[in-house]
Subunit: 129 residues, 2 copies
DNA sequence: GTAACCAGTATAACAGAGTATACCAGTATG
DNA sequence: CATACTGGTATACTCTGTTATACTGGTTAC
């Protein structure tokens, strides 16, 4: 390590008693958990009261059965949601949010807020036709 | 369309005067803009005062030169950051955040908050060794 | 002269997120 | 009997974000 780099590091630590590193780590952890195109929309749908598979599917235009199925499975494994089978006929399935899941509420809210505020600025890549 | 589905839709609209659809759209727009593994960490780094290429690179462990270069280029194209060349010798480059970029502050803050609160719950897939 | 810094570019390859399409068993509706 | 609903699975494929590795040109320090 060069002296320059060393001095930079010392300066950084001194100016950051609570360390930027922890914040970066926390940020990256969160990105890891809610990463991907569908995770947050699904959480949002379930928190908004959509419980049934097809109901969630319909509420998120563009998502495929496969992706929804996969995400739900993983989210159940990670204790984000609860899957309940109602032994009626035909069998019904209900997905409900755990409190862990609802802890994303503030993030989702902020993101909706941002999206609404900056609607006009966004130029999406054209969807495949 | 079946009567059932039709009734469901009516019920949904009635219970949602300000329409969940707009919120979902806003959420997906935001996901689209800040999507990916590196976008938010880079924004965070620049907002925290890291201006120089190598400085940003060093502040985000794991990122490659290529990814940082690509992201910076795209972010500049999208008016998220400003790239300034200082004609010294050797040439220096400074990246600074636009106010548009800083508008992600609240989202990043919420995500850091979440990450810190749920640190222990996260089981990351083991990194490649 | 060689090692390290700056700000990147080039090339190739990979992994997995995401898409497309079809299909299953079971039930109810007309 | 055909159609449409339920909650999904199976197979195959694409795409691109991401990684890995090497390299460039110019400058400064030892």
């Amino acid at each position: 390590m060069t002296d320059k780099k060393r001095l930079e590091e010392i300066a950084e630590v001194l100016s950051n008693p609570r360390s930027q590193k922890d914040e970066l780590q926390a940020l990256q952890d969160t990105i890891y958990v809610i990463g991907g195109k569908w995770r947050l929309p699904i959480i949002n749908a379930i928190c908004n009261g959509h419980k049934r598979f097809r109901e969630i599917e319909r509420s998120i235009p563009g998502i495929t059965t496969r992706m929804l199925s996969r995400e739900l499975k993983e989210m159940e494994a990670n204790q984000l949601i609860k899957r309940t089978v109602i032994p009626s006929s035909p069998v019904m399935v209900e997905y409900t949010a755990t409190s862990y899941c609802r802890s994303f509420g503030d993030i989702i809210l902020e993101m909706i807020k941002w999206g609404k505020a900056h609607r006009k600025k966004i130029i999406r890549k054209p969807e495949k036709e």
